[in-house]
């Protein structure tokens, strides 16, 4: 079932495979860990894997950064600017959601004294 062709294909798109693996690791943390902060760290790992996936799709073989300078050659090959722009904005949104979630957790810890999801379920 697994032959040399599939291994070569996986090696050529190793970034995608790593992104998928990171996604599964983050999902595992999100499901298994009882601590809310650890759950949110899992969600952040998932976000990072999506960033890696999208930014990898913008690579062009032999491309340079999409900036016109004095040393840019005549017919330049640039990498794709759109995934970079998308991820640049997505990172900041990730920071915003993290800040909001952490502030909610601070308030929750003040009120209930625990961040364990199983204990919080029993509290009502």
């Amino acid at each position: 079932m697994i032959n040399n062709e599939i291994i070569a294909k996986a090696y050529s798109s190793i970034n995608y495979v790593v992104a998928v693996t990171l996604f599964c690791i983050g999902l595992y943390a999100l499901i298994i860990k009882p601590n809310l902060i650890k759950k949110f760290m899992g969600l952040n790992i998932i976000e990072t894997s999506v960033f890696l996936f999208i930014i990898s799709s913008g690579l062009v073989e032999g491309g340079i950064a999409p900036i016109y300078t004095k040393t840019t050659p005549a017919n330049p090959v640039f990498v794709n600017p759109i995934p970079q722009a998308l991820i640049l904005t997505a990172i900041v949104v990730a920071v915003s959601t993290t800040a909001l979630a952490l502030s909610l957790m601070i308030k929750l810890y003040d009120q209930c004294g625990t961040l364990n999801a199983n204990k919080l379920k029993e509290l009502r």
Partner: protein
């Protein structure tokens, strides 16, 4: 048991997703759908049309200006939500847990931070102003600026940081990103052009490009100042405890 079951299901999901990504075009080829539609136009005409040598800045602030404007508003809304949940800090009432416990940083850390903090802020200003023609821009500058304020607060005391970065001044600066974006975008509306196109008809092309570059620069500065103060305000509001 639950762990083993979850692991098994996630392994099946992993196999499914790996088989899906292996069917995608390989990384680095020029013929993937991602690189074929609008990218050639952006790369060839971006400098004239959008007014920045850095094509990523062109895409962020001009071609996809609506996206970025909404996203700057998202940061601002995150700050408002955090302040609604935990509340704004008050120098008279609040201090940080580190100050209460009384952990003393070593002399080496304090000296290095005292020496480096101004240069980190200077670097943030450099990144902010050079987003047009080199890697950088408002968001990165905001992150560096916020990080410098955070490292200052962690090393010295919370009260010292509050006496340097006043609440009232930060309140005025937090909205700088959306305000700069809206102010520059709305100029074109007065000349019957579309929102966020930065077009002023009746100017010769050179002046028009210069005008557009100036507006992009203003937006970068606004995003940088706004982002930095928002990050530091979120940090300072979450760090506080009652005295």
């Amino acid at each position: 048991m639950k762990r083993i079951l979850t692991f098994f299901i996630l392994f099946l999901l992993w196999l499914l997703m790996v088989s899906a990504v292996l069917a995608l075009p390989p990384i680095g080829s020029e013929t993937t759908p991602v690189t074929t539609h609008v990218i050639p136009r952006y790369l060839e005409q971006g400098v004239e049309e959008a007014g920045a040598e850095n094509i990523v800045t062109c895409v962020i602030l001009n071609y996809r200006g609506y996206d970025t404007m909404g996203e700057v508003t998202v940061i601002f809304c995150a700050l408002i939500a955090v302040l609604a949940v935990v509340g704004r800090e008050d120098p008279k009432l609040h201090t940080s847990k580190v100050d209460l416990v009384g952990i003393k940083e070593s002399v080496i850390v304090k000296s290095v931070v005292r020496f480096l903090a101004p240069f980190i802020m200077l670097f943030a200003v450099y990144i902010m102003l050079h987003g047009k023609e080199s890697p950088g821009g408002g968001f990165q500058a905001g992150a560096i600026l916020g990080a410098s304020i955070i490292i200052y607060t962690m090393t010295f005391s919370y009260e010292l940081a509050l006496s340097k970065f006043f609440v009232k001044v930060r309140t005025l600066m937090e909205g700088a990103g959306p305000i700069a974006f809206f102010a520059c975008g709305v100029v074109a509306l007065f000349y019957n052009q579309n929102f966020l196109t930065y077009i002023i008809p009746g100017l010769d092309p050179v002046t028009q490009t210069a005008m557009r570059s100036l507006m992009i620069e203003i937006i970068e500065v606004g995003i940088g100042i706004g982002g930095g103060t928002v990050i530091s305000s979120i940090f300072l509001a979450m760090e506080k405890v009652e005295k």
